[in-house]
């Protein structure tokens, strides 16, 4: 299987008044096509830098980022992004917000087709009937759903998400996890998800990448074998298999934080 995303030996440092601040150190990440990679790590370890690198928004000091067998040098139209802040444009309706990437990526696309495409996605995430509302009239969870639609409306190869569910309450978050799985089932895409939530990483990810503390390097990669067949179910999180995976991840995070791992209870 070919890798859609290949991050090879990436090292990066930010220039600060107190000298260079290294954030990534020889980082290697590979995500095969169609896979969902969840990235966890201590806070401030350079996870967001990773998303900006994959999106081509910045260039690493050393190393290479490959997307679809091509070296990433600048932003490319085949990427979709979603952030913790849904970043809705308040002066546009929900529908117009979702159609925004199409205006950039496919300027020639007829309006009717754009509307159809956007409505199809809004329907998938359960926002039918809200398309003509302003973002300020929607709840945080609904705004985040619209934001996800916008991130994939132009059928990107890669969906990059930087803690998109971080600011939501627990129930809304679980709802959106489910939505995420439904979206992937209908519209397969490769995804990189930055998260602080280990349960989220296991529930959504095909692999969970644990980054070490700053400067971040790939410390551990967990292949997720989620219990059950077909679409993942939330109940699966409460099985011994998942408990085992979560314990392993917790242990790794503690090592990443430079602490002595508490003995995991198996």
């Amino acid at each position: 299987m070919t890798n859609l995303i290949d991050i090879k030996g990436v090292t990066h440092a930010y220039q600060t008044p107190n000298g260079p601040l290294p954030v990534l150190d020889n980082l290697n990440v590979s995500v095969p096509e169609g896979e969902f990679a969840a990235v966890v790590g201590p806070s401030g370890c350079g996870k967001s830098t990773l998303t900006r690198l994959v999106a081509g928004l910045m260039k690493p000091d050393q190393g290479e980022v490959w997307l679809h067998g091509k070296l990433v040098k600048s932003p490319r139209k085949t990427v979709g992004m979603a952030f913790q802040n849904p970043v809705m444009l308040e002066w546009r309706t929900i529908l117009q917000n979702v159609m925004l990437p199409l205006e950039i990526v496919a300027p020639g696309m007829p309006k009717k087709q754009r509307v159809e495409r956007a409505m199809e996605l809004l329907d998938l995430v359960g926002l039918t009937g809200f398309e003509n509302k302003r973002p300020s009239e929607l709840s945080g969870g609904m705004r985040q759903r619209a934001s996800l639609c916008r991130a994939i409306v132009h059928k990107p190869d890669v969906l990059i998400m930087d803690e998109p569910f971080g600011a939501l309450d627990a129930f809304t978050r679980e709802d959106l996890w489910q939505t995420m799985h439904e979206l992937r089932a209908k519209e397969p895409f490769t995804a990189v998800l930055i998260t602080h939530d280990l349960r989220e990483s296991v529930y959504l990810g095909d692999q969970v990448i644990v980054l070490s503390g700053r400067p971040a390097t790939t410390q551990y990669v967990l292949d997720v074998h989620y219990p059950g067949e077909g679409l993942r179910k939330l109940e699966g999180l409460y099985t011994p298999e998942c408990a085992q995976m979560l314990a392993t991840l917790r242990e790794q995070i503690q090592i990443a934080q430079g602490r002595q791992p508490e003995p995991a209870v198996h």
Binding site: L57, P75, V79, M81, V87, L100, P101, I104
Partner: protein, 254 residues
């Protein structure tokens, strides 16, 4: 009902204000060369009707012209300061310094620079006094744009111009209109300053001055009220534009 209330409340407030004014003059027994009362005003308007129309028109068009220049120049300056740190660092002290100069002192300077160009000088003063709030708020609006807003378009390979047109410009509109409301009043001050201080005599300012020289106090107060009315008209014109172009920023009231 809601619309009726919208008109009735401010009109009622104005009526109460006029009644209080009238009462104050009556209670103190002030003759109208000390303080004119509202009941003196209709007479002044009737006697000098044509002068009021002419003066209002001159004041209004020169204010609007100065304001238009301030919008163009202020927005351009704000864009430069919003996008470039160096420009921001370089221009801020200059701008603040310029803004701190009492504009009355500039009237003779302008009068000497452009001798006899009364219209030009007046428009220029209205402009000079009113571009500052616009430049600052557009500059701040642009420089505080959250990086995520830029990133959603930049990650798709959109050009800087597209990002400006689709994101930065509309997002700055509420700040822009906020500043414009301040600038409207300032521009009026600029126009009147020149009309009163400079001896060429046009506009409502000149009418005010002639009231003063002739000790016609009701006329002076009538000019002040006319200026207030013009100011209100222009202010609400801006509010209407704001509703059309930045109405989305208004949150629904619950």
């Amino acid at each position: 009902m809601r619309n009726f209330q919208k008109v009735a409340v401010p009109v009622g407030a104005i009526v109460i204000f006029l009644l209080l004014w009238e009462f104050l003059v009556w209670v103190n027994g002030w003759p109208n060369y000390v303080m004119a009362s509202p009941s003196d005003l209709p007479d002044a308007y009737i006697r000098f009707w044509s002068l009021f129309v002419e003066g209002s028109w001159q004041t209004l068009w020169r204010t609007v012209a100065g304001l238009a220049l301030a919008v163009i120049f202020g927005t351009a300056l704000g864009m430069v300061m919003g996008f470039s740190r160096i420009a921001r660092d370089a221009l801020y002290p200059l701008l603040v310094g310029f803004n701190a100069i009492p504009k009355a002192t500039l009237v003779p300077v302008l009068a000497l620079l452009f001798i006899g160009q009364h219209n030009f000088n007046t428009v220029l003063m209205a402009f000079l006094i009113s571009f500052f709030p616009i430049a600052v708020s557009v500059g701040i609006g642009l420089s505080t744009l959250e990086p995520e807003y830029r990133d959603i378009l930049r990650s798709l390979g959109a050009s800087r111009l597209t990002i400006f047109r689709k994101i930065a410009l509309p997002k700055t509109l509420p700040e822009f209109f906020g500043a414009l409301k301040v600038s409207v009043t300032l521009a009026f001050i600029g126009t009147n300053l020149v009309e009163i201080i400079s001896p060429h005599g046009r506009g409502l300012g000149a009418l005010f001055l002639s009231g003063q020289t002739n000790s016609n106090y009701p006329l002076m107060f009538a000019v002040l009220i006319a200026l207030a009315v013009l100011g209100i008209i222009l202010y609400y014109a801006v509010v209407m534009l704001e509703k059309i172009f930045a109405g989305w920023a208004e949150r629904p009231q619950h």
